[in-house]
Symmetry: C2
Subunit: 607 residues, 2 copies
């Protein structure tokens, strides 16, 4: 009891401090948190089974973790968190999803023994009501889009953990499961709904709000769960949702269970999921430490990453530095370096920088990707992460335990997957990406992927300019489409991707050879390089930001399609369109009028 009061006081204090800070300047949400500071979720680990319980603090939206004021230029960042909305009915906003993303990340690094996670609610009659409507309705268009993208990435992270880290997720829907709440359940491997005569699963966005279930819902209903499309149609226009036997018959959930047997069933099913999980390397965990970047108006500085912002030119430069000091050569050494090891730390810093760029600096249209440092060391990290004993499950889910592996081998798998996620986050940045390669550069190991993730690459034609693709780039870090970035680049002739890998096996590749291999959009010598780059940057920053977003979204994902590319390419595009239409967000649009007595008025023309 005393502990409860103390906790409440601590929260109140944090809330007041946060409010004071925000008085000075726009607050900027932080993407870092820790289970000890969660306000909306609890993460409880019991051997192989973890339980992730959502009990959203109604005022969480106003009580978000914010950084000291003055960190960003006024007007360059959204401040949706300062709006007055309540997170009723376990509805969520960005702060809730940041905790969820953190929990999944920590499960992988801190609790690698966990094989099944029960995702449930701490409320009696409600699992989750989805994204908070008042938050959405009051947010700017860019924030809406960024919010949906982030929540989508979090859901896909859950599915990646299931597919590649040997962690199965069970949605224990102990009450109403609506909108984004059902989309969260859809991201899990199994969905069990309580059968109490009233609890339903539903996607009420279309009938109630005039928008789409934008967190992958539509795609997962027909593409992941393969619900018959006419039933999916009926389901998604039925505001009250579907319950009981029909929910099972339609394939919307895997089982319904009476409330009296719900808890036991969940325990049993979680155990069954854990027992059937493919065997992957597991071992003792590590605690992820805070990143503590130094944030100023035009610079975010981490240990290995710097994001420099030129607000006037609308250009940012992201520089990632290679490892210094000893580079681990096996799993045990990587493990002993803990969270401070470059592989983990640099990736987390890069991830944080990308998120801050997205949410805090919407006006930056072009990101220059630069690298610095010792190519041999970055290359060595890459080879270790891609190596034969890097804790991978081999061909996906073949159920074989990797042989003769150190107990710490899991850390190599998770570090690789961390890079995979960060690079995929980069792939869906709605910013132009130019890689810049000069004498200082270190496009080697995982950093080589920055070169091929970029929309264009500018290579200086000079001695000492080298890039170094390694084993990681040979399929170990696929993009959202499932192809490696090299395969995506050379879709016309995948042999050229192999040629790049083969060249990298011989050692670093100089600039001219890189151009011959197809790695340079532009190769220019000393005399022209800076000028060529300057003109390209200015030109890029002058073009319509919307047209560039649409163009880049089309060009970054040629070739095969996956659930993820469908979500980011198709569903998100439709959602963006609908969000900007007067029928949703105009004065008489459905989203704007939600919760008000007026009925929305539509422009009925169908397009």
């Amino acid at each position: 009891m005393l502990r409860t009061i103390l906790l409440a006081l601590r929260r109140l204090l944090r809330y007041l401090v946060a409010r004071m800070d925000t008085a000075a300047a726009a607050p900027q949400v932080s993407f870092e948190t820790h289970p000890s500071r969660y306000r909306h979720w609890t993460l409880a680990v019991d051997g192989e089974i973890a339980r992730l319980t959502m009990k959203v603090q109604p005022f969480g939206g106003q009580d978000a973790e914010v950084e000291p004021a003055g960190a960003g230029p006024a007007g360059d960042g959204p401040e949706p968190q300062a709006k007055a909305y309540q997170l009723k009915s376990n509805s969520y906003d960005l702060s809730v999803d940041i905790e969820l993303a953190d929990a999944v990340q920590r499960l992988r690094f801190t609790h690698p023994s966990v094989k099944a996670v029960v995702v449930t609610s701490g409320h009696d009659r409600i699992f989750c009501a989805g994204a908070n409507i008042y938050m959405l309705a009051s947010a700017t268009h860019p924030f809406k889009v960024n919010f949906c993208k982030y929540t989508n990435e979090t859901r896909l992270t859950i599915e990646e953990a299931s597919a590649e880290s040997g962690i199965r997720f069970l949605a224990a829907c102990n009450g109403a499961t609506a909108g984004g709440g059902y989309e969260l359940a859809l991201a899990c491997d199994e969905i069990v709904l309580v059968d109490d005569g009233s609890s339903t699963v539903s996607l009420p966005e279309v009938p109630l709000l005039g928008v789409l279930p934008g967190t992958g819902g539509l795609t997962r209903v027909v593409d992941k769960r393969k619900v018959r499309r006419d039933l999916a149609d009926a389901f998604s226009t039925l505001a009250e949702g579907v319950k009981g036997k029909r929910a099972v018959e339609w394939g919307l959930v895997d089982a319904v269970v009476p409330r009296s047997k719900f808890a036991d069933t969940i325990v049993q099913r979680a155990k069954a999921l854990a027992a059937a999980v493919p065997r992957v390397a597991r071992g003792p965990g590590i605690e992820l430490d805070p990143l503590e970047p130094r944030v100023s108006k035009d610079r975010i500085e981490y240990r290995h990453v710097t994001l420099a912002l030129d607000h006037g030119a609308r250009v940012a430069t992201l520089t990632v530095r290679a490892p210094e000091g000893e580079v681990p050569t096996k799993a045990a050494e990587a493990f002993s370096q803990g969270p401070g090891g470059w592989g983990i730390r640099a990736a987390r810093e890069l991830d944080d920088a990308l998120l801050r760029l997205r949410f805090h600096h919407e006006g930056i249209g072009l990101l220059l990707l630069r690298t610095q440092g010792d190519r041999r060391k970055a290359h060595a990290v890459g080879e270790l992460l891609a190596g034969p004993s890097a804790g991978r499950a081999g061909s996906a889910g073949d159920g074989l335990q990797p042989k003769a592996e150190a107990p710490e081998a899991w850390i190599l798998r998770e570090t690789r997957l961390l890079w995979q996620r960060v690079l995929r986050r980069l792939d869906v940045m709605a910013r132009s990406l130019f890689a810049v390669v000069d004498e200082e550069s270190c496009f080697a190991g995982p950093l080589f992927e920055l070169l091929v993730a970029a929309d264009r690459s500018y290579l200086l034609d000079a001695d000492g300019v080298e890039v170094w693709p390694g084993a990681l780039s040979d399929g170990a870090l696929p993009g959202w489409s499932g192809l490696s970035r090299l395969e995506t680049r050379f879709l016309a002739d995948r042999g050229r991707a192999k040629a790049v890998i083969a060249a990298g096996r011989e050692g670093p590749i100089d600039a001219r050879r890189a151009q011959q291999l197809g790695l340079a959009t532009v190769l220019a010598d000393d005399i022209d390089f800076e000028e060529e780059l300057r003109v390209a940057v200015e030109e890029r920053a002058s073009l319509s930001p919307d047209a560039l977003t649409g163009m880049e979204a089309s060009y970054r994902f040629p070739g095969p399609e996956t659930l993820a590319t469908k979500i980011f390419g198709r569903l998100s595009a439709w959602q963006n369109w609908i969000f900007i239409r007067p029928n949703a967000t105009g004065e008489t649009g459905a989203l704007s009028l939600y919760g008000k007595p007026e009925r929305p008025r539509f422009d009925w023309r169908r397009t």
Copy 2:
């Protein structure tokens, strides 16, 4: 000379009549035309080679073929054709594309001997400048979207003719090839560009207009031609385009040829294309006759199709009637029926009705699909079209001549492909589709596909209510994704699609059995049927038209992705979004200000 003057006079007269008509009410563009009436294209057939030459009449946009006034309710149809714009530089509007679509259709039916088509320009220094910008800028959002969709369908028709009708297309780019002009070239099998030091291919939409190349351009650059994505990026932001050797190196064109050798080279390459075309059934052609529907305010009446419009309820009912009289049992009989045969005529009528609904009646949100007539006859037509000697190339492009075929066998192939195209047009209608099945219904043969194309199906549970899937539905009429509509419906278990086909082999399937087989969204008896349908219709018609469009676009295309699904799902969604953004169509947007001295002003926030 006299003929030229007479033709000019005739055109002037038609122009004046059209203008007079438009004074009375909104004109409604007609989707029918004939080579003898083309104003922008000429179609010349010489044995196995045809030449399709574009020479757009600058005032074609104002001189479009329109129907007598009073055909539609005021305000329910767009009238982009009445705007004052000139189609300079071989730029096109809807009237130009209607002629192109007609030409491709007539090549298949009237000239089945043709194996290669040269697509070129009648202007000296310009191939095609793409869609007319002033037309686009002045058009409503629904018209923009419908225009892009129609032009996309036309391009995909060209690719279908290449893949399935044994007609190869050669883009002879004898001058500047910009925007939609290059997109037209991309739809061809080969692109040859004149090498004259100035002629380029270009996609200037992003840099000049702040919109996307919306006719499949981005998708085809990286997915069809597989241009390296960084080069695609550079190309698509370079307003002046790419010419000469670089255009070949980047994969944007297949060859560049000096002007002096251009004509000869084109002839040679066209012959080579014709020589290498897979062997398919060919024979004497037929002339497609005019449809001559009776059009009134709330009804469009064809021989086999009726479209009844309830503008107040925003609901239309499309009824397709089964064949009457003799049904052909082999190719020669189908051929002897000519264009009046039900298989061709009903499909063309359905196609025309869908286009009129799209363009003339934007306010209709829901389309009820009904059928009437003799199920045995419709079934028999379907079996003939799907039959073993139905002029198909077997497994796509295997180069084998079908054995022992009548010379008229081509007509079965082309009739089947016509249904394929019409049904695919239905699949991308931005309208909700409910199939209604009662005692009168005839969901059999090709009409069975209407049932499975629908978003929902309502079946009356009564004696005599039957549906009849046949061989056509077993993969002979795939949707845009390449799957049959039954496979799409039963993505979770394709065996269920096979079960439906197997049941149809036994004969018509009654309503209850149809429900057991998964063909009914709702099965209701006499007492409830009308009421259930009425409520569903009213509810559907009350929902946000935008949200429904996005939802249906997601649910209609689960499973595999193709160039077409990428274009309609991804590219079109982005294009729709960009079209509605102030950065394109706001007062200071790039599209609005095109051709004016002011520079566009952008909201720089990247989303």
